[in-house]
């Protein structure tokens, strides 16, 4: 029987932050707050740092254990956009095992074969093999009939469908959102309504089928309004957003910065403000890293030829803490956005410090200053749109199931 006692911390649990510690026995939470430390227990002095559940990252595109560890992420819900796509049970099982022991990967099953948007993949078998949901992948499913059948089928299996809401016809080959920056740079762009259009259709199908949906990222005022309204009517809808769309607008692309080429693309300032408001009022359910490493061969290109995507696993926590400093959310709510809600929505045994829960723990120095630097990240590549940004807060210790994870902080 092994025991670990983290003492002198500030514990984020049960909707509040309270001084105290966490006692771990055999990889599970035994007690929080104040407790008698058993003989022989390993003692950790938290020195006033936050003790909180490890982050659960929904919708990462790559298994990047060093980046996850550095970012305090203990579980990642993996997009099916792998090579090859996760459209059969063997691939799902392999992906589920790929990150252990450092980060536990919960794959999303490809909704359609080859993620092509036409025929349903073997969703039921993949769910038995460990998939925690299904996903349309990087693209949307254009055929409304397919989307309707997918939602009905996945819903009956108790699976949440992760959708990429972007009307393909309206978006076309666009690399940006319509606006002054796109026009100045001469880059093909699409109206921001491409997102709301897709959200509206999917919500109608959710209403028709009763099946739960999660929009991987919702980034525009109009689409967030639709989600807000759907929640008010009690539809089983949730949505996420990455820090990129909370802290950057499309002017970040100026100078053809391919690190700022994202999917969905960065939006105008009014939409960015709407995103912040939607985090504050609870329309947004979770914060995600959108972790998507793209090396120089994919990014050192003319903008329209560069791949979209950014690395975000190790910057998620620091950027999210900025929301607390800005007064948008408090720490307990932040951990709901970063850990509890993601676990709840995808049925993962994580995100809380309830007695008996797996001891996925992160120790956070919420004030530690550091600078995001593209060439010093632990991620598989350095494509962050936040290169050079000074931030505060980082994970200092991490445990997965009570076992320490090496952070390798530089």
């Amino acid at each position: 029987m092994s025991a670990l006692a983290i003492l002198n911390g500030r514990v984020v649990a049960g909707g509040r932050v309270a001084p105290g510690g966490v006692l771990v026995r055999d990889g599970h939470i035994a007690a929080i707050g104040t407790f008698a430390v058993p003989d022989g227990a390993e003692r950790i002095d938290a020195r006033g740092a936050l003790v909180a559940p490890g982050l659960v990252d929904v919708g990462a595109f790559a298994i990047d254990a060093p980046a996850c560890a550095a970012g305090g992420i203990t579980r990642a819900v993996l997009m099916p956009d792998q090579s090859p796509p996760l459209d059969n049970v063997a691939l799902v099982q392999r992906a589920a095992a790929a990150g252990k022991p450092d980060v536990w990967v919960h794959p999303l099953a490809a909704a359609t074969r080859g993620l092509e948007g036409h025929e349903l993949a073997e969703i039921g078998l993949m769910a038995r093999g460990g998939a925690c949901g299904v996903a349309t992948g990087r693209g949307w499913i254009a055929d409304s009939g397919v989307m309707h059948r997918l939602l009905a089928y996945a819903g009956a299996l108790g699976l949440r469908t992760v959708s990429h809401p972007e009307d393909g016809g309206l978006a076309g080959p666009a690399a940006m959102t319509d606006g002054e920056t796109a026009t100045r740079l001469g880059l093909p762009s699409a109206p921001a309504e491409a997102e709301a259009l897709a959200v509206a259709r999917d919500l109608l199908l959710v209403e028709a089928t009763g099946a739960p949906i999660h929009f991987r990222q919702v980034t525009t005022a109009r689409a967030l309004g639709l989600v807000r309204e759907a929640k008010r009517r009690g539809l089983p809808v949730s949505c996420g957003i990455a820090p990129s769309h909370l802290f950057l607008s499309d002017i970040a692309v100026t100078g053809f910065r391919t690190f700022a080429r994202l999917s969905p693309p960065l939006r105008g300032e009014a939409d960015r403000q709407a995103c912040l408001a939607a985090v504050a009022d609870g329309t947004v359910d979770l914060l995600c890293s959108a972790h998507d490493p793209q090396g120089p061969e994919a990014k050192r290109m003319p903008f329209i030829l560069a791949e979209p995507g950014m690395v975000g696993a190790e910057t998620l926590l620091a950027l999210a803490l900025g929301l607390v400093r800005d007064g948008l959310v408090d720490l307990p709510r932040l951990w709901d956005l970063l850990a509890a809600a993601p676990a709840r929505l995808f049925g993962l045994p994580a995100g809380t410090l309830d007695a008996g829960a797996e001891a996925d723990l992160v120790l956070v120095d919420e004030h530690a200053p550091w600078r995001i630097s593209s060439d010093r990240l632990r991620a598989a590549s350095g494509n962050t749109p936040f290169d050079g940004l000074p931030v505060q807060g980082r994970a200092v210790r991490l445990w997965k199931g009570g076992k320490p994870i090496v952070l390798n902080l530089g």
Binding site: D178, R184, G255, M301
Partner: protein
């Protein structure tokens, strides 16, 4: 890497490359136009030669097909005495990714003294410019910028109408896909002209008003009272229903016809960057009207402007005066 020589505040053109009109100040643009005047004069001589770029290697790297711009840069370089090499790159073989950077490194290793680049992707020229040690001139990148075209247009207007400030210029047609339009909006606006963009709503860029222009979707309204009417080329593949229903309808609604031209200021100047689709964006009778059309003059000014740009941008390397 050697740093650029310290330049005083009074330097007439403190830029290493010419990647676009964006970022140029009015006096810098006017400086290039003034410099071009001497080459207009030389080009009209029988012996059109100057030796100031002797020994320098100019590479024209065109990743997109071009006839007139390539020819214009080639003539400009040769008239200044440079060794000019043209590199035409088929779109299929080299237009993507690392290959573009590799090509830039290759050109750099050949010790070019100036590189002129055209590419079909916006921003591609800047990407190459960041990797090479010599001045880079943008000969058109995607739908972003085509600065020498804007300079030659400004020179043409100035020579015909005396000045640019105070004029009303209507840029008509496919503004959305046009780098010529973007550079001209910036250049003419910077020099004090009132700029309008006129075209079908499907071919006008989003929030184009933010560039300081007025937007018109009615051709007759858009050119009313204009001093200069600039027609843009409409690519054939965009006439077939994608952006406008047909060439015939486009001509009826947006073609520059003699009847329409009656609405402009008297003796308004007609311009076109070429190559023209006669009978689509412009009627032949207008294109060929030497009084009103400045189209061939634009081509002539192109060589002079490009000579000026090549001269000015290589002065640092040639250690001219305090450059």
């Amino acid at each position: 890497m050697p740093s650029a020589p310290a330049l005083s505040d009074a330097h007439p053109f403190p830029h290493r490359h010419l990647l676009g009109i964006a970022g140029l100040l009015p006096h810098e643009i006017l400086f290039l136009l003034d410099e071009a005047e001497q080459w207009v004069a030389l080009n009209r001589e029988t012996a059109k030669h100057d030796e100031r770029l002797r020994g320098l290697t100019l590479i024209n790297a065109f990743f997109e097909n071009s006839t007139r711009t390539l020819l214009s840069f080639e003539i400009a370089g040769k008239r200044l005495g440079a060794d000019v090499v043209n590199m035409g790159v088929a779109q299929s073989s080299v237009n993507k990714g690392e290959t573009l950077i590799d090509t830039a490194m290759t050109l750099n290793a050949m010790h070019a003294d100036a590189i002129v680049i055209r590419h079909d992707a916006s921003g591609a020229v800047q990407l190459i410019a960041d990797k090479v040690d010599c001045p880079v001139l943008n000969a058109g990148d995607g739908r972003h910028e085509h600065p020498t075209q804007a300079l030659l247009d400004a020179l043409t207007i100035r020579r015909r109408l005396g000045q640019i400030a105070g004029l009303t210029v209507a840029i008509c047609g496919d503004v959305l896909h046009s780098r010529v339009a973007r550079s001209n909006i910036l250049c003419l606006g910077t020099l004090g002209a009132t700029v309008r963009v006129v075209g079908p709503p499907t071919l006008l860029p989003p929030e184009v008003e933010r560039l300081g222009v007025t937007r018109f979707t009615d051709m007759d309204e858009g050119i009313r009272g204009a001093d200069v009417v600039m027609a843009l080329r409409l690519q054939r593949e965009r006439m077939a229903g994608g952006f406008v229903p047909s060439p015939r309808e486009y001509h009826a609604l947006y073609g520059l016809t003699p009847e329409r031209l009656a609405r402009t200021a008297p003796d308004a100047l007609v311009m076109h960057p070429g190559p023209m689709n006669r009978g689509v964006e412009i009627s032949s009778s207008i294109a060929d009207d030497l009084q009103r059309s400045a189209i061939t003059e634009q081509v002539e000014m192109g060589v002079a402007v490009r000579m000026a740009c090549l001269d000015v941008l290589t002065r640092g390397a040639r250690r001219v005066g305090n450059w």
